[in-house]
Symmetry: C2
Subunit: 143 residues, 2 copies
DNA sequence: CAACGATATATAGCTTGCTATGTAAACTGG
DNA sequence: CCAGTTTACATAGCAAGCTATATATCGTTG
């Protein structure tokens, strides 16, 4: 029996995630933001001054990935790394005024992208969809 | 109202796709395959001798992405690019014996990854999940 | 048939993801 | 107290995605 990619959850998940990222990227392009930067900002808008390790835990990416994303964000004037007087190893990540100002337009763009993707879903289907994704994520985390 | 990433379809889709890719990558590591190479092989196992443009259409990635993936696959002895005597611009992509031999173990690995992700889903939930992903993909394609 | 547009592929340059490894600071047990 | 482990971050190197642009061949049209 042939492997049908249209019936493979992994295949569909990859394609769907790329389309989400592409759509979001387009919508936030005027803000000069990239998707991973937006995701990082979400955590920092919620709580400024987090440490790199705390960001890694909240966003569930590898530490090296986060380090690189933060370097680009620092280069782009979105964050500042401040030394921690209590612990010479860690640094607190602080938002710049520019990053703070992006909160409303950026989250609006993300909401618009989610709405476009789920435009023809009923409210119940949206909830079901989110719940199923969370369950698949949890299952793979355990695995 | 705060933007909650746990309730964002795009955020969950990204995380889920990364976990699928990571899991698949681990399972096919003994075969010395990377996920995008596997995806490309799926199309070529189904029909050998496709052209780069045909692969781009079937897998829905950008032409430049496919060109680079094919270059790596050629380097790794998975494919051969053969000149097309009818059209000097295009090349037919042919599988090597090594790539042909990988079909069974690689698709088994992909099935195992899908099964792990959806382990605690009922049969009905699996169908629902695939259908919802297809609909989200279609909606973003139109957008 | 020559010029021009369309098509197929390649390349440059970037972001985001990963693994593996290095480095410095902090902690801990003997 | 200091040797060894753990922790926080950085760096190297790769795959895969993207946009933008170059190049070569094919087709078409005046």
């Amino acid at each position: 029996m042939a492997f049908q990619k249209e019936r493979s959850a992994g295949y569909l998940a990859n394609q769907m995630a790329r389309l989400f990222a592409k759509g979001l990227h387009e919508r936030i392009r005027p803000l000069d933001l990239a998707p991973a930067q937006f995701m990082t900002l979400l955590a920092l808008w919620d709580e400024d001054g987090l440490t790199q390790i705390e960001l890694v835990r909240r966003l569930d990416v590898e530490q090296a990935t986060m380090a690189n994303t933060l370097t680009r964000m620092e280069r782009d004037g979105l964050i500042e790394r401040r030394a921690n007087p209590e612990d010479g190893r860690s640094q607190a990540i602080h938002l710049t005024p520019r990053a703070k100002a992006l909160r409303d337009p950026a989250t609006a763009a993300a909401r618009a992208q989610n709405a476009a993707a789920l435009a023809d879903f009923s409210e119940e289907e949206r909830e079901t969809f989110l719940a199923l994704m969370r369950r698949a994520i949890a299952a793979m985390h355990k695995d």
